[in-house]
Amino acid sequence: MTDRTIAVDYLARVEGEGALIVRIHNATVEHVELRIFEPPRFFEAFLRGRSYREAPDITARICGICPVAYQMSACHAMERALGVSVGGPLRDLRRLLYCGEWIESHALHIYLLHAPDFLGYPDAIRMAKDHRELVQQGLRLKKIGNALMQLLGGREIHPINVRVGGFYRCPTRAELDGFRPELESAFTLAEATARFAAGLDFPDVEEDYDFVALRHASEYPMNEGDVVSSRGLQIAVDDFEEEFREIQVPHSNALQSVRKDGNPYLVGPLARYALNYDRLRPRAASLARETGLGHVVRNPYQSIIVRAIETAQACEEGLAIIDRYVLPDSPSVPLPSVASPVSGAAITEAPRGMLYHRYRLASGGTIEDARIVAPTSQNQKRIEEDLRHLVERSIDLADAPLTDACERAIRNHDPCISCATHFLRLELARD
């Protein structure tokens, strides 16, 4: 009888502080635990008593990797609460800013965090000693995403130009036209990225994911849509809490999200792609065909190719927005005063998947209650399933290579642990 423990004390090349423990008893995996020890920061608690106008800037600080996602979900949720709609060029500019974050975040993951696993390096800097041009290509792509966020948001980390109702300042037509060649070259870099990623060696694995993502009537999802799943669910965002619930486990400072039947699900690039393949723009769709990917990708390692296709999609979307841009009369829409208590919920697609915000406002506009569900909280339980299957398949490996393989399997999903730690429910649910 043998007992084995595979442990990683501090996961590398993920955002935030996490650890991994797998307990194996007689060749059976008994326990898998993605442990999140990132200390809690209590955002939902200190949001109470703040003005609704402060939520985009405050929640951005939950995550330095995807601040735009927090700003977007917060703005949309507040606008739903206020009964305000932001359309036309202001809506376009939000999507354009979000495209910048997708390009930057995906390039960061593809080149600096994920690719070293395929090419056998501990990091991109050491990888650059042998593959300097490849890393430089990734940095060029990442830089264009950041430059787009600077142009629209003032800076790439915690942009300052986003507000409930729109922006503080809109770019001129000439500023966006000046950026067009950059975005066109980003598209070319994204194509090269997809071709590079498609040529990597992938373990022959498929997981039976329950994919969950937004779906919009005509667009590849980003700022709005219904919540759909590969198992036939289709609901409005307002019903999210009816179909998905969060559980708290002792080993984690993050809550884990599950379907109401208790089963895990997956959000993020693989889910968006599988549920919205028909919404890709023409050049991104043709790139997907060229890489030989099907309409649905269940191999988590191939998420690197899907991220590259989504990067191309974001560039192409951004170019279309620039081409039709007309400077709006005002950088934001007027907001009504909050005469009586209201609430509103929204989901947008962060690079890592759906990000849910729900707020209740008191009359006067003070936040009374906040709930935030981040992509990594939703994926945490599903990542543990991937790990369980990996260890079952690879039980004969020695500890060191098995541990490496586990870390790698986690990185497939680009977990953002800083995000996952703060989310949780504001309502008291004591046993």
């Binding site: 501090y10 996961l11 590398a12 090349r13 993920v14 955002e15 502080e17 990132e38 200390p39 809690p40 920061r41 209590f42 939902e44 608690a45 200190f46 703040r50 003005s51 402060e54 405050i58 600080r61 939950i62 995550c63 330095g64 990797i65 601040p67 960061l108 600096l112 965090l113 501990p122 990091d123 800097i125 050491r126 650059a128 300097r132 940095l139 990442k142 003032g154 800076r155 790439e156 980390i157 915690h158 300052i160 130009n161 922006f167 503080y168 300042r169 708290q248 486990v249 002792p250 400072n253 950088p331 506009g365 003070t366 870390e407 953002c416 800083s418 429910r425 504001l426 008291l428 046993d431």
Partner: protein, 264 residues
């Protein structure tokens, strides 16, 4: 002559959003040059490879919010020739320092269904309250060029050239129209340390203080001006109590405004 080994740089994370350490990876044009000049010896967000200390320069992100982190920062200090904090969390406790002025037990119950699973301290504190710090880089997030300046300076044993004047000075230099004078927008620029590039006024918005208080800020003179723009006392208190809420000068400004019964 023996080759001098390249300086060893480590990056450490405590309670934070990861944005300040991401700033290093956002130096797309300089990253490979930096990596050629130094040995990136411990940077978990970017690398699996860990070189044991001691380190020539440790960059520390995040605030201290757990007993374990209070122990760990002393270990980091012991291994580091120079220790530089990066960002508002490490320098002033960050936005999570709002707990310092609230009941953390209540926070824990409000956020978690099973509060007993969560270990945390009652306060979020700056690194300097635990160990000696050689330099503090401001910002939420930090500025890329200031980060490169600090790394370069410490590696050649010189003092970093990081100005401590107010955002107003930089704003004038940039040629921005003053948002207070022109639009009556509330602005913390006169009392906030520069370094961001005065980006908020450039986007027609008042500064919201993410670089923290400048050296000897005159907050007492600013508060009536903020109220003049239409802010209620409660809004003024919140304005000083966000990303650098526990920085002493901003904390004092918050406390100087009476907790009025006026609307929020």
């Amino acid at each position: 002559m023996a080759t001098r080994r390249p300086p060893r740089v480590a990056v450490w994370k405590f309670a934070s959003c990861d944005g300040c350490q991401l700033t290093l990876l956002d130096c797309e044009d300089e990253l490979l040059a930096v990596a050629d000049a130094v040995e990136i010896a411990n940077f978990r967000e970017a690398s699996r490879a860990v070189v044991e200390g001691p380190y020539d320069l440790s960059l520390v992100e995040g605030s201290i919010t757990t007993a374990e982190d209070a122990r760990r920062i002393r270990e980091v200090r012991a291994q580091s020739r120079f220790l530089v904090t990066i960002g508002a969390c490490a320098t002033a406790g960050g936005i999570q320092a709002l707990r310092n002025f609230a009941d953390v037990e209540e926070y824990r119950r409000v956020v978690y269904a099973r509060p007993e699973y969560i270990t945390t301290l009652a306060s979020s504190t700056a690194i300097r309250e635990h160990v000696a710090v050689d330099f503090e880089l401001r910002g939420c997030p930090i500025d890329k060029s200031q980060l490169l300046e600090v790394i370069s300076a410490f590696l050649v044993d010189r003092v970093p050239n990081v100005p401590t004047e107010s955002v107003c000075i930089e704003c004038k230099r940039r040629g921005n129209v003053c948002v207070v004078v022109a639009h009556g927008a509330p602005c913390l620029g006169p009392v906030t340390q520069t370094g961001c590039g005065a980006i908020c006024p450039a986007f027609h918005r008042g500064c919201y203080g993410c670089f923290g208080p400048m050296d000897s800020p005159n907050t007492a003179a600013l508060i009536p001006l903020l109220e003049h723009t239409g802010m209620t006392p409660a809004a003024v208190r919140r304005f000083f109590s966000t990303f650098n809420a526990a920085a002493p000068a901003f904390r004092a400004a918050t406390e100087s405004v009476a907790e009025a019964s006026s609307p929020p």
